[in-house]
Symmetry: C2
Subunit: 348 residues, 2 copies
DNA sequence: CTAGTCCGGGAAAGGGCTTGCCCAGAACGG
DNA sequence: CCGTTCTGGGCAAGCCCTTTCCCGGACTAG
């Protein structure tokens, strides 16, 4: 039939031949460059490309140019709405800049983060964006740090979301402040005793939120007894189980449960309901994140609202815009949103 | 200082030099091959790689080998739990096979699908997986089809999830059957009049679910009047607005509302509640998908449960395993799950 | 002891693209 | 009318790898 090769995509060389111009001209016509090309030639080339269904080989371009137009994103669990919202922001922003995003999931196993970075680094992405699934100081930290440093030394850029302990550009989600602000408002609402579902003991984000809340609550005169700090996974099931544990410890005096994220709060609500606890009459509950798809649960959940999409966008800005030095931070403040799950509490 | 280049990552050549072996040997030692390499040499190479923090340039490998180890995933909206769950399955399965996944989002604008495929094709992924955001026959279909055909001709593989109208491998989610089965069960539960929030008129998935439900409902003796088929977006807000429209049309006689997906159902619930409608006492409601993070809403939502993660996995199997011909289909059946939102209805 | 096999290292040829450089012709100035 | 300066096409080098092919040395077999 035609000159199309049996297998394999059309190459630029074939396009050039079809258009009867040199390889160089074809390249300049198709992928733009500083140099102009004669409109007539350009047309011929583009026409040839179209008929051959040419698609530039990005890998080849990458090796020729010595750089890609890719950003790599590492999240803990893409099916968690927290991460998928951030991912959404990243993808939008990336796309606006003509970048492709490749994504990796650690599945909440931090050591996998290092492995993932090792692989993704091979892509030579413009930037690697790590979204906070990381733990407090760990042995794997060194390895990861080394890997990231190597990536930076090779000209890549590292951007972190919510893990300010590492020396890279980071979107610094002020978890402590957000949790503290929430605590303040809830105290204003009349709450005097609270329990905290603290999440995993070593997960930094969880810890900041838990201590931010507990410290503030104490500061306002209502210290939280240790037995009402219940750890658990950072997931719906974690919240469910933590609520169960909390109940076992005696829930009677607790007016309010603060779960360190919304999905845990939802899990906790599910457990409490299943045991006949009325929400919010018997106990109030609050979360953190303000996950979009959870806005319609009943009772409407009090939480700390985080601009998740925006965080994603900012991450790519931070990653790519040049006027930033190597470890600048962009603070993001959550704002407490009080809803039905924490009604005004009138003490007898 | 050392021999490390000021910028840019270490190359295999540098590693080879440091290990005092040839480029070929270094390549074989690091990236494996049919050929064996002397253990002593191998050690030297690996050591050198480690000290230089070498990371193989995937792009270069891709051009040398003439193929990547990448799969591309195209979804409508990664922040929608439906898609992010599928994406999660895809990523898990991909990772088990040592593949990297790059992801694109059409943001629910089907024409973007073509553009996205055009870009992703440049990556020369092993497969492009498109997850059903597509519309009924459209002019953009031809372009997209051409693009995909070209990709296949060049040796790539196309896999669709839930858009069986195109001639590619597809995971065929049996929306009609699922919706029909749900209708059957609800009729058994005593429901005789239903409204359907049909989603976008031209979105295939939505249409299949809506007509599957309506047809079955009619078949069991309860045809659904046209005024109770309310279109809207395939999103939470779409459900919200559709419920409003439905109410405007007079909700009185409707015993049951079927929304073509869970998030719409949740939106509808939010609207109805806001106007004082009690759920499920005043009206029952059902969705489709069984989104994980929505399992804890109250009342618990009746729905058609879809194994979303599994669908993702299957998609990559279908995409990569060889014993499949070019347009085989894997059927996926949803199973109706009746919960509190559709209680047994006892007629007076 | 020699011929025939293996084994595994290294040189070099790609693979698809970008880009520095050369150069012919066009455009311009004096 | 000639010398300059632009334009913009094309050649070829180069990017970082993989893989074919050659070849010398170590083995095996007869």
């Amino acid at each position: 039939m035609s000159s199309e090769r049996a297998s394999g995509a059309a190459t630029l060389e074939e396009v050039a031949a079809a258009a009867k111009v040199s390889l160089a001209t074809a390249s300049r016509a198709i992928n733009g460059s500083a140099r102009k090309v004669n409109p007539e030639y350009r047309e011929r080339v583009l026409a040839a490309a179209r008929t051959l269904n040419y698609s530039p080989n990005l890998a080849a371009q990458a090796v020729a140019k010595g750089g890609t137009s890719t950003v790599a994103l590492v999240v803990a669990d893409i099916s968690d709405p927290y991460f998928s919202s951030i991912a959404s922001g990243v993808m939008r922003a990336a796309e606006e800049r003509g970048l492709i995003v490749t994504i990796g999931s650690t599945e909440r196993r931090p050591p996998r983060e290092t492995a993932l970075v090792r692989v993704l680094r091979g892509q030579r992405p413009r930037s690697i964006i790590l979204v906070g699934s990381r733990l407090a100081a760990q042995e794997s930290d060194r390895e990861l740090g080394d890997e990231l440093k190597a990536f930076e030394k090779a000209g890549g850029r590292v951007t972190m979301v919510s893990q300010p302990q590492l020396p890279f550009r980071t979107i610094d989600i002020r978890n402590r402040e957000g949790a503290a602000a929430l605590a303040a408002q809830l105290v204003n609402h009349g709450y005097r005793s609270a329990a905290v579902l603290t999440g995993p003991a070593d997960l930094l984000t969880a810890r900041e939120r838990a201590t931010g809340f507990a410290d503030a609550f104490a500061e306002y005169g209502h210290p939280i007894d240790e037995r009402w700090l219940v750890p658990g996974d950072f997931t719906r099931d974690g919240g469910f189980l933590a609520a169960a544990e909390l109940r076992r410890r005696g829930l009677g005096e607790v007016e309010l449960i603060f779960a360190v994220n919304d999905v845990m709060a939802v899990g906790a609500m599910a457990y409490l309901r299943s045991t006949g606890v009325r929400l919010p009459e018997d106990v109030a509950i609050a979360g953190f994140d303000d996950i979009y798809s959870l806005r319609d649960i009943t009772p409407a959940l009090t939480t700390v609202s985080l601009p998740l999409e925006l965080i994603g966008r900012k991450a790519v800005e931070l990653a790519l815009d040049d006027d930033q030095d190597g470890d600048s931070r962009v603070p993001i403040h959550g704002v407490p949103v009080l809803r039905e799950s924490t009604p005004l509490l009138v003490h007898a």
